[in-house]
C-alpha cells in the first residue's frame, strides 16, 4: 500500500544528532544484551535474565513459553487493531485516533449478544454458533461506528491540513467513548466464561497452549489471510490500493473514491470488531475505557510495523505484544530492576522509539521511492 514519503536519509557529516542517535543505538543494544546475558564473571553486577533461568532461580522455561504465547495472543489483537490505523492511514494519510473506540464499541455491544446466549444456554451447547454470531454482532457494530465516523466527520475534512482530521479524530474518540458510557453505563460487563470446549490447554507441536489464546491467535491469523486476499485479489481491494497511491488519479480512472474510503473504514472496523470479541474472550471484562490503551498500542504497532503496510501492522502488533510481555522480564529483570512488570509500557514505547531510530520507516516500511529527478 502507500509508501510513506520520508526524507532520504542523508549522509551527513557526523553532527550532534548523529552522535546522540548512535549513543542511543549502542546504549540500547548494550542494555538489552547485558540484561539478557549479564556480565559474566562480575559479581554484584547485572546477572542477566537468561543466566538466572539457567541457574534455576529466575523465570522458568515453561514460564518463558507462557509469556511468549500470551504476548503472541495479545499482539495478534494489537495487530488486528493496528490494521484499522494502517488502512486508514494508507488511504487518507491521517491517524484515526477514534479507532480504539471502534474496537471498544464492538466488544461492548457484542457483550449483550454473548450474555443473551449464555443465559439461554446456547453459549455452552452451540459454542461455534454462539461465538460466530457474537463476532458478527461485534463486526457489525464496529463497522457501523467506523463508517459513521467517516461519513459524519472525516469526509468533510479531506484536503484540510493534517492536524485538523487528527484533532477531529481525538474529539470523535472522546465523543464515542463517553456516548457509550452514557448509553451502557460505566460498569464492567463480564463476558460469559469461554465455552467448555475452549477451556484448558491444547498441545500444538508439543507445546501446551491455553485454548483461548490459541483461538485468538488462529482467528486473527485467518482473518489476516482473508483480508490480504481481499485487498490483493478483488476489484474493491485494487481500488483501495489505487486510492492509496494517488487519490486524484484513482478518481480520474473511475474509482468511486467515497465508496472505497467508506469500505476502508468498514474493513478496519470489522477487523476491530473481531478483535473486540477475542479480547472479551481472553480477558472477559469490557467497559467503555477498554478501547483506550489497546487503541494506543495498536497505533504504536502500526508505526512499528511500518504504517500504511498491512502485513506490517500485523507484524508490528505481534512485535509490540511480545515485547511488552517478554521484554520487562527478559531485559529489565536481568539488571535487577524492581517491579519490572509495571514498566511494560515503558518497554513497549522504548521499542517503538528504537525501531524508528534503527529503521525510520518501521519494520516492514518500504524503502523510499525514487525521488524527484530532473
Amino acid at each position: 500500500m502507500k509508501l510513506l514519503k520520508l526524507p532520504q536519509q542523508r549522509k551527513r557529516r557526523f553532527g550532534f544528532v548523529d552522535s546522540f542517535l548512535w549513543a542511543v543505538r549502542i546504549g540500547a543494544l548494550v542494555f538489552v544484551v547485558v540484561g539478557i546475558f549479564g556480565i559474566p564473571g562480575v559479581a554484584g553486577g547485572p546477572e542477566g535474565s537468561l543466566f538466572k533461568t539457567l541457574s534455576g532461580e529466575g523465570v522458568s522455561g515453561e514460564a518463558w513459553r507462557d509469556l511468549f504465547i500470551s504476548g503472541l495472543a495479545q499482539g495478534s489483537m494489537y495487530g488486528m487493531i493496528a490494521l484499522g490505523y494502517s488502512l486508514v492511514y494508507g488511504v487518507l494519510g491521517f491517524i484515526n485516533f477514534a479507532h480504539g473506540e471502534v474496537f471498544m464499541s464492538g466488544a461492548l455491544v457484542s457483550f449483550f449478544a454473548a450474555d443473551a446466549f449464555a443465559t439461554a444456554g446456547i453459549w455452552e451447547s452451540q459454542p461455534v454458533l454462539a461465538l460466530g454470531f457474537t463476532i458478527l454482532v461485534a463486526m457489525a457494530t464496529s463497522t457501523i461506528v467506523a463508517v459513521l465516523t467517516e461519513r459524519i466527520a472525516y469526509r468533510r475534512l479531506r484536503g484540510s491540513p493534517r492536524l485538523i482530521p487528527l484533532i477531529t479524530s481525538i474529539g470523535m474518540s472522546f465523543f464515542i467513548r463517553y456516548t457509550f458510557r452514557g448509553l451502557f453505563g460505566d460498569s464492567f460487563k463480564t463476558y460469559p466464561a469461554a465455552p467448555g470446549v475452549l477451556e484448558g490447554r491444547a498441545t500444538i507441536f508439543g507445546v501446551e497452549i491455553l485454548k483461548t489464546q490459541l483461538t485468538v491467535i488462529v482467528v486473527t491469523a485467518v482473518s489476516m489471510v482473508v483480508l490480504y486476499q481481499f485487498v490483493a485479489r478483488t476489484r474493491m481491494g485494487r481500488a483501495m490500493r489505487a486510492i492509496a497511491e494517488d487519490r486524484e488519479i484513482a478518481a480520474l480512472m473511475g474509482v468511486n473514491v467515497d465508496r472505497v474510503i467508506s469500505l476502508t473504514f468498514a474493513v478496519g472496523g470489522a477487523m476491530a470488531g473481531i478483535a473486540g470479541v477475542l479480547w472479551a474472550l481472553l480477558f472477559r471484562q469490557v467497559h467503555f475505557l477498554t478501547g483506550f490503551l489497546p487503541g494506543i498500542k495498536g497505533f504504536t504497532a502500526a508505526v512499528v510495523g511500518g504504517i500504511g503496510n498491512m502485513a506490517g501492522a500485523y507484524v508490528g502488533g505481534l512485535a509490540i505484544g511480545l515485547v511488552e510481555s517478554v521484554g520487562p522480564l527478559l531485559v529489565l529483570d536481568g539488571w535487577g530492576i524492581p517491579a519490572v512488570s509495571q514498566l511494560k509500557d515503558v518497554v513497549a514505547f522504548s521499542a517503538l522509539v528504537l525501531v524508528l531510530i534503527y529503521r525510520p520507516t518501521g519494520l516492514l516500511g518500504e524503502r523510499l521511492s525514487v525521488e524527484e529527478r530532473g
Binding site: K52, F188, A193, L289, D345
Partner: protein, 469 residues
C-alpha cells in the same frame, strides 16, 4: 477578611509588577511607588496552625448569638437548613466508592432527621476526582459557600492532602469515611502524621492496622513464608502493600517480589510470571477491579503458581468480584464488615440499613465504606446538635471551634461500624480489620460475611487479635 491578609495580596501584586518590570527593564515607576506602601507588610509570615478565620456572619446585638470562638461561627435563621456538604470521588474509575459513600450520607440524614428543628442540606455533591486537583477545587467551592459547618469526605487520601488546609482556613471540619493514609492522622505512637491538621477526623481505619493485621494473618494463620505483593500504582494500594510487606518481613517472612500493575492492564501473565520466578507461597494483591479480577482469572494458567495462596484486600470485596468462580478459596483483608448486629446512633441496625440501601438504590452496596460514611455523617450531625445554641426566635448558633472540639472528644459513639472514639489526632474508627474467605462464588454475600480473622488496635497502637464474631 483581616487587614493583614489584604496587605499580603498587595505584596503579590508588587511581585507581578516586579516580574513584568524585570522583563521590560524600562518601566519601573509602578513598583517603586507600590513597594513603598508595602514596606512593612512582612510581619505575618509565621504559620499558624490554628486558623484565624473570623465570623462568617454579622452579629446580632443581643446575648444571642454568643461571642464567636477563634474559628468563627454560623448563625442559622429560623427554619433555614443546616449546611453540610460531601466531597467524594463520584466519577471515573473510583465512582463505585464515592457514590456508595454519598448514599451512606443520605441514609444517615434520613435517619437523623432534623437538627433542632432545622433541616439538613447537602447542597451540590462535589467530586474529589481521587486526585489532589479535585480535592483542592472541590474544597474551594465548598469553602466559598456560606455557613457550611462540616464536610463528609474525601474518598481518596490523595484528594484530602490539599483539601484539609483549605477547610482549615475556613474553619470547616472534614470527616472521611475512607481515607486510610497514616500521615493524615498519626502513627498510633503519639506522633502526629505530617499531613494532619486539627480539623480533620476519620471513621475509616488507618493503613498501619490493616497492613500489619493482614501480614500477621498470612504469617501466623496461613503459615505463608514467602510472598509476592502487587499494587496498582494507586497511593492506597501501594501504601497497603508496603505496610503489609514491612510487618511480614518483621515477622520473619520474606517478600520475594514486590511489584505492581497498571490499573488498565489486562494481560497479567507477565506480572504473574515475574512473581512466579520468586517461587512464593502466597500473593497479596490489595488492588481494585478489574485488574484484581484479571489476576485471579489468569493466575491458574501460570506454571509455578498452581498452588499459591491468593490474598486480596478491600478494594475487591464486592459482590461482582466474589461471584467469579476463581475467587473461591481466596482470602481478603479489609475493614471489619461484621456489622450486622451493630446498631448505629439512632438504633438502626446495619442489617436494616443494607436492606434500605438496596430498596433505595436498586443494588447492594458497591463497597464497604458507606457504613463508615454513615457513621461519619451521624457523628457530624450529632456534634452539631450538641454544640448548637438555640436562639429566641428559632435561630441556631453553631460555634465552629466548639464543633471541632466536640468531635475530637467524641467517645463511645454507637456506630454501625462499631463503637467510635476519636483520639487526639482524629482517628475515630474502631480500627478493626478482618480477613474473609470466599467459599462459594454463587453466593457472594456469604463470602463477604465469612470472617475468619479479626484484629484491632491495642492501647499502644499495636495490633491485637480479636475473637471472631
Amino acid at each position: 477578611m483581616s487587614k493583614k491578609m489584604k496587605f499580603r495580596h498587595l505584596g503579590v501584586l508588587v511581585l507581578v509588577f516586579a516580574l513584568i518590570a524585570a522583563a521590560c527593564g524600562d518601566d519601573d515607576t509602578a513598583d517603586t511607588t507600590t513597594a513603598a506602601t508595602t514596606a512593612d507588610t512582612t510581619a505575618d509570615t509565621t504559620a499558624d496552625t490554628t486558623a484565624d478565620t473570623t465570623a462568617d456572619t454579622t452579629m446580632a446585638p443581643m446575648a444571642f448569638p454568643p461571642e464567636a470562638g477563634a474559628w468563627g461561627g454560623v448563625l442559622i435563621a429560623a427554619g433555614a437548613p443546616v449546611e453540610i456538604r460531601t466531597l467524594q470521588a463520584i466519577s471515573e474509575s473510583v465512582a463505585f466508592l464515592g457514590v456508595d459513600q454519598n448514599r451512606g450520607t443520605e441514609l444517615a440524614l434520613e435517619d437523623f432527621g432534623d437538627v433542632l428543628g432545622h433541616p439538613v442540606n447537602l447542597g451540590t455533591a462535589e467530586d474529589d476526582l481521587c486526585l489532589g486537583e479535585g480535592g483542592a477545587s472541590g474544597a474551594t467551592a465548598i469553602a466559598a459557600q456560606e455557613g457550611v459547618l462540616g464536610v463528609i469526605g474525601t474518598t481518596c487520601s490523595g484528594a484530602a492532602f490539599p483539601a484539609i488546609p483549605i477547610f482549615h482556613a475556613a474553619g470547616i471540619v472534614l470527616i472521611s469515611g475512607s481515607n486510610t493514609n497514616a500521615t493524615l492522622t498519626s502513627d498510633f505512637q503519639g506522633n502526629a502524621g505530617e499531613n494532619w491538621m486539627n480539623n480533620y477526623l476519620r471513621t475509616a481505619h488507618n493503613d498501619l492496622i490493616q497492613g500489619a493485621a493482614a501480614a500477621i494473618f498470612a504469617y501466623d494463620n496461613l503459615g505463608l513464608r514467602k510472598m509476592g505483593t502487587i499494587h496498582d500504582g494507586d497511593p492506597y494500594t501501594s501504601g497497603l502493600a508496603g505496610s503489609f510487606g514491612l510487618t511480614f518481613t518483621e515477622l520473619g517472612g520474606e517478600i520475594v517480589v514486590a511489584t505492581s500493575v497498571a490499573k488498565e492492564d489486562t494481560n497479567m501473565v507477565p506480572v504473574l510470571t515475574e512473581i512466579a520466578a520468586g517461587e512464593p507461597d502466597g500473593i497479596y494483591f490489595p488492588i481494585f477491579q478489574p485488574a484484581g479480577d484479571f489476576i485471579v482469572q489468569q493466575v491458574g494458567g501460570i506454571s509455578g503458581l498452581e498452588d499459591v495462596q491468593m490474598y486480596g484486600a478491600d478494594g475487591l470485596i464486592t459482590p461482582d468480584h466474589f461471584s467469579l468462580p476463581e475467587t473461591e478459596g481466596v482470602y481478603y483483608s479489609g475493614p471489619d464488615l461484621g456489622f450486622d448486629a451493630n446498631a448505629g446512633f439512632t438504633g438502626e441496625t446495619y442489617t436494616n440499613l443494607v436492606a434500605r440501601y438496596e430498596a433505595a438504590y436498586g443494588e447492594l452496596p458497591t463497597a464497604a465504606f458507606h457504613a463508615h460514611t454513615y457513621d461519619a455523617t451521624m457523628m457530624l450531625l450529632f456534634a452539631i446538635e450538641s454544640v448548637a445554641v438555640e436562639g429566641p426566635d428559632g435561630e441556631l448558633w453553631v460555634d465552629r471551634l466548639a464543633l471541632r472540639d466536640f468531635l475530637y472528644n467524641i467517645s463511645d459513639f454507637a456506630g454501625v461500624t462499631g463503637t467510635l472514639t476519636c483520639d487526639e489526632f482524629g482517628d475515630c474508627g474502631g480500627n478493626v480489620v478482618s480477613v474473609i474467605l470466599n467459599l462459594d462464588s454463587d453466593d457472594p454475600q456469604a463470602g463477604i460475611g465469612n470472617v475468619v480473622f479479626r484484629a484491632g488496635k491495642g492501647a499502644g497502637g499495636e495490633v491485637v487479635i480479636l475473637p471472631l464474631g
